[in-house]
Amino acid sequence: MTTERHRFVILLAEDEPADAHLVQVALSENHILADLQHVADGRDALEYLRREGPRFADAPRPDLILLDLNMPRMDGRQFLAAIKLEQNFKDIPVVVLTTSEVERDIVSSYHLGAAGYITKPVDVVQFIAAIRDLGEYWFELVRLPDNQKARP
C-alpha cells in the first residue's frame, strides 16, 4: 500500500441538475473533498472514461462512479453492462442511485456488478448521511493503491 494520497475523484452520471446539485451539497456538507466530475448520461460517462473527444482529453480517472439509472441516450443499466466488458474500467466501483427499492431489486437481479446502491431519499439530511456513509466506506476500504490502479 502506498501512503501517497491524491484527490478522490467521483464521476457522477446524472441527467437531472437538481439531483446533481443535491450530490454536490451532500459532499460539501460532509466535508468530503472529492473532485466531483459530472456527466449527463451513460454515453458521456463512457466517453469520459475512454477520454474521447476534446472535452474529456484530460479527464482524471475516477475512483468511484455514482450512477443514476434513468438517463437519456444510455441509461445506467446499459452503462454498467458496457463498462463490465472493458478491462480498464471494470474494477472501478459503481454505486447506483435508485429512486426506489423496487428499482434497486430489479437492477440487482440483472447481476451487473454494482458495488452498492443508494436509494435517493426524500430527506436531504438522509441523503447527506448516505453520501457520508458511502464516503467513509470507499475512502477507507476501496480506494485502490496506485500500483493496482495502473494495472491495464
Partner: protein, 519 residues
C-alpha cells in the same frame, strides 16, 4: 353432460340398437333357413316314401302274391314301419317316419295323438298338401312334425273296399279296415325331425355370427371413442388449460394447433387473442410502471428542495404563515412521492424481484425491525417474534410483506400520531402496543400471522382494506395501498392474505404462502 360422454352415449346406443336389430334379423334368417331345410328334407323323405309305397302296392297287386305271414312284410304298411325302425341304424339325425292310419291293419301303424290331430286338420283343410307343427316326443324332446295326407284313391279300394271284393288272402288275414271310400282321409305320412339338433346347429352358427358382430361393433366403438378423445376431447381440454393460464395472468402460454381442422383454427384464434392480450397487458403494465416510477422523481426533488429551503431560511423567517406553507409543500410532495412509491410496489408485487427460494424469514424480519427501530420506540411497541418457517418466495417481496404488515400494525394498532384520534386511544390507552409475528407450516403452505392487541378491524371492513386506496381513517400518512400489496404478493405466489381477529380482539393479518415450489 360432457361432450365426450354425450357423443359416446349416442354412438353406444346407436351401435347397441344396430347390433340388436342385426342379431335379431340374423336369428330370424337362420331360423327361416332351418325351417326351409327341414321342410325340404321332410318333403324329400315323404316323396321317397310315397313313391316306395306306390311301387310296392302296385307290385303286390300286379303279382297276385297272397298276403300271408311270409309275405305281409312286403306290404308297404308293414315294410315302412320296419324301415323306420331300421333307419336310425344308418343315420344319427334322430329322424323317424311312418305311414299311419286311424284304422290300421298293422297296429304298429296306429296314428298317435299328434298324427290324429294332423288328420283332423287335413279333413278341415282338404286342399292342403302338408302340415307342419312342433310336438313334444315321448322322450320329452321337441320335434319338427311334418305330415302329408294320404287320401283314398281308386287302387286303395282293391284291398280296402268291400271285404268280399278284396283278395282272398286279405279277407282271410284281416277282419278290419274295409269299406274305405274314395276321397276319404285314412292316414298321413308322418315325419318327425328332432328340433333340438337343428336348433343347436342354428344357435351355434348364430352365436358365431353374433360374436363376430359384437366384437366388430365393440371395436368400432373403441376406435370411435379413441378418435373422439384424440381428435376432440384432449385438444379441447388442452385449449381450456391454456385459457385458464391466460385468465390467471400467465400470458406466455400458447396453444399447440397443428392441423387444419376447426379445433386447430380455434387454437390459432386463442393464440392470436393471447398475443393481443399479452401485448396490451405489457403496454399497460409498462406505462403504469414508468408513470409511477418517473413521477416519484420530481415529487422527491420538490420535497428535498422544500426541506433545503427550510434549512436555508432557518432563523430568517419570522412569519409563521410562510413556514406553514413551506411545510405543506414539503408534506404534500412527500405524500405524493410515498403514494407513487407504493403504487410502484403494488404494480411490481406480482413479479418476483429476485430468485424464488426459501429465504430466511427471521433474518429478513430482523433487518426490517432494525430499520423501524425508531418508530417502534416512538410508539413504545413490544414486538414478539415466534417461529418463522421459510416459504417459497423471493426475499425482496417477503421483506415487503413483513414491512407493510408491521407498518400497518404500528400505524393502526398503536398511537403513533396522537393528534389524529387513533383507534388505539379509543380502545385502550393504557395497555402498550404488542405486535406478535409468527408462522407455522400447515401441509404445503406456510402461514404467517402479524397480529396486534389494538382494537381490531370490524368484520365488514376486512375485505375492503385489501383494496387499493381503501383506508379506514384519514391522515396518518398511510397511502392505503399497503394491504393491497400484501394480497397481490401472496396471490401471485399461489397463496392468499386475509384478516382475522387476533387473540384478545386485535387485528391479525394472515398471509399464506406455498411451503415449496409449485410444480
Amino acid at each position: 353432460m360432457k361432450l365426450q360422454t354425450r357423443l359416446l352415449l349416442a354412438i353406444g346406443v346407436t351401435l347397441t340398437l344396430l347390433t340388436t336389430a342385426n342379431l335379431w334379423i340374423s336369428y330370424r334368417e337362420f331360423d327361416g333357413l332351418v325351417d326351409a331345410e327341414m321342410v325340404k328334407e321332410a318333403r324329400n323323405i315323404r316323396a321317397m316314401l310315397m313313391a316306395t309305397r306306390r311301387v310296392y302296392h302296385q307290385q303286390f297287386l300286379d303279382s297276385g302274391l297272397p298276403v300271408n305271414d311270409k309275405t305281409v312284410g312286403f306290404l308297404p304298411a308293414h315294410a315302412l314301419a320296419r324301415i323306420s325302425r331300421e333307419f336310425p341304424n344308418w343315420t344319427i339325425s334322430g329322424m323317424s317316419f311312418n305311414n299311419v292310419s286311424d284304422r290300421p291293419r298293422n297296429p304298429e301303424n296306429r296314428a298317435d295323438t299328434a298324427e290324429m290331430e294332423a288328420m283332423t286338420w287335413f279333413r278341415a283343410n282338404p286342399k292342403a298338401e302338408e302340415h307342419i307343427g312342433e310336438i313334444m316326443g315321448a322322450d320329452g324332446k321337441l320335434y319338427y312334425h311334418y305330415t302329408a295326407p294320404m287320401w283314398i284313391e281308386e287302387y286303395c279300394l282293391k284291398c280296402h273296399g268291400q271285404r268280399e271284393a278284396a283278395p282272398a288272402s286279405i279277407q282271410d288275414k284281416y277282419a278290419e279296415s274295409y269299406d274305405y271310400k274314395l276321397g276319404d282321409l285314412r292316414g298321413v305320412m308322418s315325419i318327425k325331425i328332432p328340433l333340438t339338433t337343428m336348433h343347436d346347429r342354428v344357435l351355434t352358427i348364430w352365436r358365431v355370427d353374433a360374436v363376430t358382430h359384437l366384437v366388430g361393433y365393440l371395436l368400432l366403438f373403441l376406435v370411435l371413442a379413441g378418435l373422439l378423445r384424440r381428435a376432440v376431447t384432449l385438444r379441447l381440454s388442452g385449449l381450456e388449460t391454456i385459457t385458464q393460464h391466460l385468465m390467471a395472468g400467465d400470458y406466455r402460454q400458447r396453444a399447440e394447433h397443428s392441423g387444419s381442422d376447426e379445433i386447430a383454427a380455434l387454437g390459432a384464434a386463442i393464440n392470436q387473442m393471447a398475443d393481443a392480450v399479452e401485448r396490451r397487458e405489457a403496454d399497460l403494465r409498462r406505462f403504469s410502471e414508468i408513470a409511477a416510477h418517473h413521477l416519484q422523481e420530481p415529487a422527491r426533488r420538490m420535497a428535498s428542495y422544500a426541506e433545503r429551503l427550510t434549512q436555508q431560511l432557518a432563523g430568517r423567517i419570522d412569519d409563521a404563515e410562510i413556514q406553514l406553507s413551506l411545510d405543506f409543500i414539503g408534506q404534500q410532495a412527500r405524500y405524493q412521492k410515498n403514494m407513487l412509491h407504493d403504487i410502484e410496489r403494488y404494480l411490481a408485487a406480482d413479479q418476483p424481484r429476485g430468485e424464488l427460494a426459501l429465504p430466511d424469514a427471521r433474518q429478513i424480519l430482523a433487518a426490517i425491525l432494525a430499520r423501524a427501530q425508531d418508530r417502534i420506540s416512538a410508539v413504545g411497541a413490544e414486538i414478539i417474534i415466534g417461529e418463522l418457517p421459510s416459504a417459497w418466495i423471493d426475499a425482496p417481496r417477503l421483506s415487503d410483506l413483513f414491512e407493510v404488515t408491521l407498518d400497518n400494525a404500528l400505524q393502526h394498532g398503536g398511537a403513533e400520531k396522537s393528534t389524529l384520534g387513533t383507534r388505539r386511544e379509543a380502545a385502550s390507552a393504557a395497555a402498550p402496543l404488542r405486535i406478535a409475528i409468527d408462522g407455522e407450516q400447515v401441509g404445503n403452505l406456510v402461514r404467517y400471522r402479524i397480529s396486534d392487541n389494538g382494537p381490531g378491524i370490524e368484520a365488514q371492513y376486512r375485505e375492503q382494506v385489501f383494496q387499493v386506496f381503501e383506508r379506514l381513517s384519514s391522515g396518518r400518512g398511510g397511502t392505503g395501498i399497503g394491504l393491497a400489496i400484501v394480497r397481490r404478493i401472496a396471490e401471485s405466489c399461489g397463496g392468499r392474505a386475509y384478516i382475522e381477529t387476533a387473540q384478545g380482539g386485535g387485528c391479525c393479518v394472515v398471509v399464506e404462502l406455498p411451503a415449496r415450489e409449485i410444480s
